[in-house]
C-alpha cells in the first residue's frame, strides 16, 4: 500500500495487542452470504508510472486553443502567490474548524472572506460558501420560500440554463413552483428579462410569488434593469435574488445598491481554475433581515477567556448536525479552500487591480465585437454588455466545429445548450477577458471570414 506505514512486524504487534491471529477475525461480523471476494480493479501502480499515466490523460485534453468560451466560467490571470498559499498543507489538509483553538487560521480567513464579499456585494451577511453558482442560486430561491412562506419562484430565462435546471431539481422535493420569465424578443431590450411579462406573472391571482431571480450580467452577457426588476418584485411582496459575476462588481453596481435581498454568484472568476467543472465557489449573501434563513456556515468575531480577539463558527442552530430534519439545508462540506483562493486573489489584486481586470476585459470584448463585425458577424442583441455577447452566424454549430480544427474555441453554440429555443438557432456566445490578446482576436476574425460563405453575412444580419 503506497501510503501505509506498517511493516509486517507492526501488523503482528497490533494483532497481538488486540489478541487475535488474523485481521480476518475483525470482519467476522459480516454475514458470510454478504461478504465480497476482493475487488476487480487494476493492479497498484507505482508513483512514477501513475504520474506518466496522469500526464497522458491530461495531454488528451485540448487546452492550447484560442478560447472565446465563457458562459458562466471565465479564464483570468491568477497571481502566482495564490497557488503558493493554497499549497500550504496547513490550509488544504485541515478539516472543518470544529476546534477553534487550533483553527484560527481557517476561521479568520473565512471571516475575511465574508467581509470581502460583503464589500463587493453590498450585502452584510455572507455564508462561508456553497458548492457553486447554481447550487447557491437554488439555495437562494429556497430561502425566499422559507422567508415569505410562499411556494412560487420566478426565474428569468436569461439566467444560465444550468442554474435554472438545478433550481428545478432542488424544487422537486418541496413541490415548489418554478415559473420562467421570458426574455424580450425584439427591439432595444432584446435578450433581457421581459418586465411586462414579469409584472403579469407577479400579478396572477392566488399565486403569490416568494422570489424573483435575475442575472447581472445575464447569460447572454447583457446588462439587466436590475433596480426595476427589484422594484417590481418588492411591489408584489416577493424577495429579489440577484445572480451576479463577482469580477464585474468592481465596476458594476452591487446587488445591495439596487435592492437585492439575496445575491448568489459563481466565485470561479476570483482566482479559481476552470478544472472542467470544479471545484468552484458558490457565493451566497443576504441582507441582515434574512440572517436566520441563510444556509451554510457563518464565522463570527468573538473573544477568548483572556479577552483576545478570536473567530468561531456561529449561529449553528441553523445547521444539519444540530437541527437535523429542521435545518435550513443539508449542507455540510462546502468549498472552504476555494473561498480562501478567492480571498487571496482579492488581497493580491486590491480594489484597483480588480477594476483593471473587469475594465480590460470590457476593452477586449469591445475589440472582439468590432473585429467580428468587420467580417460581417454581428451581435444578436443590441443592448449594452460588459465582456460577453451573442453573435449570429449561419450554420453556427458546423462553423464552431471547423474552427476547433483550426485551434479556435469559438465560444458556445447556444442551440446546443438550449435546444428548442428558436431565437438561439445559429448563434454563438463569445467572451473576452483581460487574458484575451488582440492577436487571438485577429486570428478568430480571420478564421471566421474564411469559413463563412461570402454573401451569407447579409442574410445573417437581416434577421435582426
Amino acid at each position: 500500500m503506497p501510503y501505509g506505514p506498517h511493516a509486517a512486524a507492526d501488523r503482528a504487534h497490533m494483532l497481538a495487542t488486540i489478541g487475535i491471529a488474523s485481521v480476518d477475525e475483525l470482519f467476522a461480523d459480516i454475514p458470510v452470504a454478504l461478504r465480497a471476494i476482493g475487488l476487480d480493479l487494476p493492479d497498484p501502480e507505482a508513483e512514477m508510472l501513475l504520474a506518466a499515466r496522469l500526464e497522458g490523460l491530461a495531454a488528451r485534453n485540448r487546452v492550447d486553443l484560442d478560447s472565446f468560451l465563457g458562459a458562466g466560467v471565465y479564464r483570468h490571470y491568477c497571481p502566482a502567490a495564490v497557488d503558493q498559499i493554497l499549497l500550504r498543507g496547513e490550509w488544504y489538509t485541515a478539516y472543518t474548524p470544529y476546534q477553534p483553538e487550533i483553527s484560527q487560521g481557517t476561521l479568520q480567513s473565512i471571516y475575511e472572506y465574508q467581509s470581502l464579499m460583503a464589500e463587493l456585494l453590498g450585502l452584510d451577511v455572507v455564508c462561508a460558501s456553497h458548492y457553486d453558482g447554481a447550487a447557491a442560486t437554488a439555495e437562494a430561491a429556497l430561502m425566499t420560500c422559507r422567508a415569505t412562506r410562499r411556494e412560487r419562484v420566478l426565474v428569468s430565462r436569461a439566467v444560465h440554463g444550468h442554474y435554472r435546471q438545478t433550481l428545478a431539481t432542488y424544487f422537486l422535493g418541496g413541490e415548489l413552483e418554478l415559473d420562467e420569465i421570458p426574455v424580450v424578443a425584439d427591439g432595444p431590450a432584446a435578450g433581457t428579462t421581459d418586465l411586462a411579462a414579469l409584472e403579469r406573472l407577479l400579478g396572477e391571482p392566488d399565486r403569490p410569488v416568494a422570489g424573483v431571480v435575475a442575472g447581472q450580467p445575464n447569460f447572454f452577457g447583457l446588462l439587466e434593469p436590475m433596480a426595476e426588476i427589484g422594484r417590481l418584485a418588492h411591489g408584489a411582496g416577493a424577495l429579489f435574488v440577484a445572480v451576479v459575476e463577482p469580477v464585474s462588481l468592481a465596476v458594476l453596481a452591487p446587488p445591495g445598491e439596487y435592492g437585492a435581498d439575496i445575491a448568489a454568484a459563481e466565485g470561479q472568476p476570483l482566482g479559481i481554475g476552470l478544472q472542467y467543472g470544479g471545484p468552484y465557489l458558490g457565493i451566497l449573501a443576504s441582507t441582515e433581515a434574512l440572517i436566520r434563513q441563510i444556509p451554510g456556515r457563518l464565522v463570527g468575531m468573538t473573544t477568548d477567556l483572556d479577552g483576545r480577539r478570536a473567530f468561531v463558527m456561529t449561529m449553528r442552530a441553523r445547521e444539519q448536525d444540530i437541527r437535523r430534519e429542521k435545518a435550513a439545508s443539508n449542507i455540510c462540506t462546502n468549498q472552504a479552500l476555494l473561498a480562501l483562493a478567492a480571498s487571496v486573489y482579492l488581497a493580491c489584486l486590491g480594489p484597483h487591480g480588480l477594476r483593471d481586470v473587469a475594465s480590460l476585459g470590457a476593452v477586449r470584448a469591445a475589440e472582439l465585437e468590432a473585429a467580428l463585425a468587420a467580417v460581417g458577424v454581428r451581435r444578436v442583441h443590441p443592448g449594452p454588455f460588459l465582456n460577453e455577447f451573442a453573435v449570429r452566424i449561419p450554420d453556427a454549430a458546423a462553423v464552431h466545429r471547423r474552427l476547433l480544427d483550426r485551434g479556435i474555441l469559438a465560444g458556445l453554440v447556444l442551440e446546443e445548450m438550449e435546444p428548442g429555443d428558436p431565437t438561439l438557432v445559429d448563434t454563438l456566445l463569445v467572451c473576452a477577458t483581460e487574458v484575451t490578446t488582440p492577436e487571438e482576436i485577429g486570428r478568430f476574425a480571420a478564421a471566421l471570414a474564411s469559413e463563412l460563405v461570402p454573401g451569407a453575412f447579409a442574410t445573417a444580419g437581416a434577421g435582426r
Binding site: 506505514p5 497490533m14 485481521v23 475483525l26 461480523d29 459480516i30 454475514p31 454478504l34 465480497a36 475487488l39 487494476p42 501502480e45 508513483e47 501513475l50 504520474a51 485534453n61 458562466g72 497571481p79 498559499i85 490550509w91 489538509t93 478539516y95 472543518t96 477553534p100 483553527s103 479568520q108 480567513s109 471571516y111 463587493l120 457553486d132 447554481a134 444560465h160 440554463g161 435546471q165 431539481t169 446588462l223 458594476l252 453596481a253 445598491e257 478544472q275 472542467y276 467543472g277 468575531m301 473573544t303 477567556l305 483576545r308 480577539r309 478570536a310 456561529t314 448536525d321 444540530i322 437541527r323 449542507i331 455540510c332 462540506t333 468549498q335 479552500l337 487571496v344 489584486l349 475594465s359
Partner: protein, 500 residues
C-alpha cells in the same frame, strides 16, 4: 480586546494602506467603461484592502500556522476519515491539461478528462457493487439529496405517491434527516438498539406503505458493522421501499462488503474521506452516487458515455427525460475527482482492500490500548475503522467532561476526536485513526489519552482549563451567537480606496 497573541494576525483590512498593491494587471485605457450606462455602474469602488504581495503572503502564511492539519499531525476525527492526502494528487490536479479545461469545451477537446471520469465511475461501481455511478454531486450531502430525489422519482414513476416517509436511525449523521426534509419527505427517527446498531424490530414496525426509503450508515456511526443488515434490507424491500446507504464509513469495508451486491439500492461516496482528497478546511469534496438497476434511469444529467470505439461524450440536454435533472452546474468537481482517481490507481484492488484492513486494524489496536482508561460502550465487539470511547465514568468521578479531555489533547499535540457524536453515547468520543498512521503515532496518542484520564483524577483543574498552549483559549461562543459580528466594518472616518 487584544488583537495579537502569539502569531495572531490583524485582519487584511487593518493591514491595508491606501495606494499599496498593484503591478499584477496591465492598466486599461481611461475610457474603457464609457460604453457602459452610468445607471449600471458602481459609484464608489469596493473598499477592498490594499496590500503588497509580501504583506499578503505573510498574512496567509502566518494565519496558516494557527491551523492544525494532517500535514502537521495526527487527526483522529471520527466519521471524517482524515487519512494522508497524497502529494502526487495535488500535482496531478494542477496539470495544465486538467486545470485549464473549460467545462463547456466540446467533447472532442475533453477526451482525457472524460476518460478519467468514465474509468472512475467504473471503479466506484466495482468498489460499491452498484450498477452505475454519477460523479456530479459536489459533496456527500448533495449526494444524499441526489439519491433521495432519485428514490422519489422511482416511486412516482410507478404511480406510488403515498410514500412520504424516510426512516433514519437516531445515530445517523445530521445530513440524513436534513436531506429527507429537502427532498420533501417526513423523517421518522428510529431509536438504536442497545448494541448501537439498528433495532430491527423497531424498523419492521415503522416500515409500511408510507415508507419511501430507509437511510442506513454501515458500518454504523459507532463503528460497528450492522450484522443483521441482510434481514433489514429484506424487510425494506418487502415493504416496497428502497434502501439508501450513507457511504461515510466506506473506508472500513473495501473489498470485504459491497453494498450494491448486499441489496442497497443507492449510496454516496465521500471521496474526501475514503479516497484521500483533502478536506480543505471545509471543502471542496465530491459526493459521487452509485445506484442499482432500478434507479439507473433517474441518474442526474449529464452522464459520461463511452461508445464502442472508445470515444467519450457527455449526454446532451434532454437526452434522457427520466433523469431527475441537474444537481449543479457543469459535470462535477472534476479537480477533486482527478485526485480520487489517482488514489484508486495507486492502490489498485488489492491495495484498497489493504487500506480497509489496516484502518480496521488500527482502530481495534487503539481500542485495545484504551480499554482500561475509558469506557467503551460497545467494547465487546470488534469495531470497524472507528470506535466510541466515553468519559462517562471519569465525569461521574471527577467532573471532567469529554469536552475538557478533547481540549487537553490539544496541549499534548493531537487533534481531538469527534466528540458528542453520535448523540446516543453519553460523553462520547468517536476515534478514527485511519490506515496511514504509524504504530508510534497510535501509541503516543493512546498514552496521551491515558495520561489525561489520570490527570482528571489528580489535577482536574488543569484539564478543565485546557487548552493552555494554543494561540487562543476557549472562546466566548454565546456572545458570538447573540451579537453576531460576521463582517469587518471599516472604522468611522477610515480612508476608502483612492480613485486611482
Amino acid at each position: 480586546m487584544s488583537v495579537t497573541g502569539p502569531k495572531l494576525q490583524a485582519t487584511l483590512f487593518e493591514k491595508s494602506r491606501p495606494g499599496r498593491g498593484g503591478g499584477k494587471i496591465p492598466h486599461p485605457p481611461k475610457d474603457a467603461l464609457d460604453r457602459i450606462p452610468a445607471a449600471a455602474r458602481r459609484g464608489a469602488p469596493p473598499a477592498l484592502p490594499e496590500l503588497n504581495e509580501p504583506e499578503v503572503v505573510r498574512h496567509y502564511v502566518n494565519l496558516s500556522q494557527l491551523n492544525y492539519s494532517i500535514d502537521t499531525g495526527f487527526y483522529p476525527l471520527g466519521s471524517c476519515t482524515m487519512k494522508w492526502n497524497p502529494k502526487l494528487n495535488e500535482w496531478a490536479a494542477r496539470l495544465p491539461g486538467f486545470a485549464g479545461l473549460h467545462p463547456l469545451a466540446p467533447d472532442a477537446a475533453s477526451q482525457g478528462s472524460l476518460q478519467l471520469l468514465w474509468e472512475l465511475e467504473m471503479a466506484l461501481a466495482e468498489i460499491s457493487g452498484m450498477r452505475a455511478v454519477t460523479l456530479q454531486p459536489a459533496a456527500g450531502a448533495q449526494g444524499e439529496l441526489t439519491g433521495i430525489l432519485m428514490i422519489r422519482a422511482y416511486h412516482r414513476s410507478r404511480g406510488d405517491l403515498e410514500r412520504t416517509e424516510v426512516l433514519v436511525p437516531d445515530s445517523s449523521h445530521g445530513t440524513n434527516p436534513a436531506t429527507a426534509t429537502m427532498a420533501g419527505f417526513t423523517t421518522v427517527t428510529i431509536p438504536s438498539a442497545p448494541d448501537g446498531g439498528v433495532d430491527l424490530d423497531a424498523f419492521r414496525a415503522a416500515l409500511g406503505p408510507r415508507t419511501a426509503a430507509v437511510m442506513i450508515t454501515n458500518p454504523s456511526t459507532v463503528g460497528l458493522f450492522e450484522a443483521r443488515i441482510g434481514e433489514l434490507l429484506d424487510a425494506v424491500h418487502a415493504a416496497g421501499a428502497l434502501a439508501y446507504m450513507d457511504g461515510a464509513n466506506l473506508n472500513a469495508i473495501m473489498g470485504r462488503f459491497k453494498p450494491g451486491e448486499a441489496g442497497f439500492d443507492v449510496m454516496h461516496f465521500n471521496v474526501h474521506k475514503t479516497f484521500s482528497t483533502p478536506h480543505g478546511g471545509g471543502g471542496p469534496g465530491a459526493g459521487p452516487v452509485g445506484v442499482g438497476e432500478v434507479l439507473v434511469p433517474f441518474l442526474p444529467a449529464p452522464r459520461v458515455l463511452r461508445d464502442g470505439a472508445g470515444t467519450y461524450r457527455l449526454e446532451g440536454p434532454g437526452e434522457r427525460p427520466s433523469s431527475i435533472g441537474r444537481m449543479r452546474s457543469f459535470v462535477g468537481n472534476t479537480g477533486v475527482l482527478v485526485r480520487a482517481y489517482a488514489y484508486i490507481r495507486a492502490h489498485g484492488g488489492s491495495g484498497l482492500r489493504e487500506v480497509s484492513d489496516d484502518a480496521v486494524l488500527a482502530a481495534n489496536y487503539l481500542k485495545a490500548r484504551l480499554a482500561g482508561a475509558y469506557d467503551e460502550p460497545y467494547g465487546d465487539r470488534p469495531c470497524k475503522h472507528e470506535f466510541v470511547a466515553s468519559a462517562a465514568s471519569i465525569k461521574k468521578a471527577t467532573g471532567v467532561r469529554t469536552l475538557d479531555i478533547a481540549k487537553r489533547l490539544i496541549d499534548y499535540g493531537f487533534h481531538p476526536p469527534t466528540i458528542y457524536f453520535p448523540l446516543i453515547v453519553d460523553e462520547g468520543m468517536l476515534i478514527e485513526p485511519t490506515e496511514t498512521e504509524s504504530v508510534e503515532t497510535l501509541d503516543a496518542f493512546a498514552e496521551a489519552l491515558i495520561a489525561i484520564a489520570a490527570e482528571a483524577y489528580a489535577a482536574p483543574d488543569v484539564v478543565h482549563a485546557a487548552p493552555h498552549d494554543t494561540p487562543v483559549r476557549r472562546l466566548d461562543e454565546a456572545t458570538a451567537a447573540r451579537q453576531p459580528n460576521l463582517r469587518w466594518r471599516p472604522m468611522a472616518g477610515a480612508e476608502t480606496p483612492c480613485p486611482e
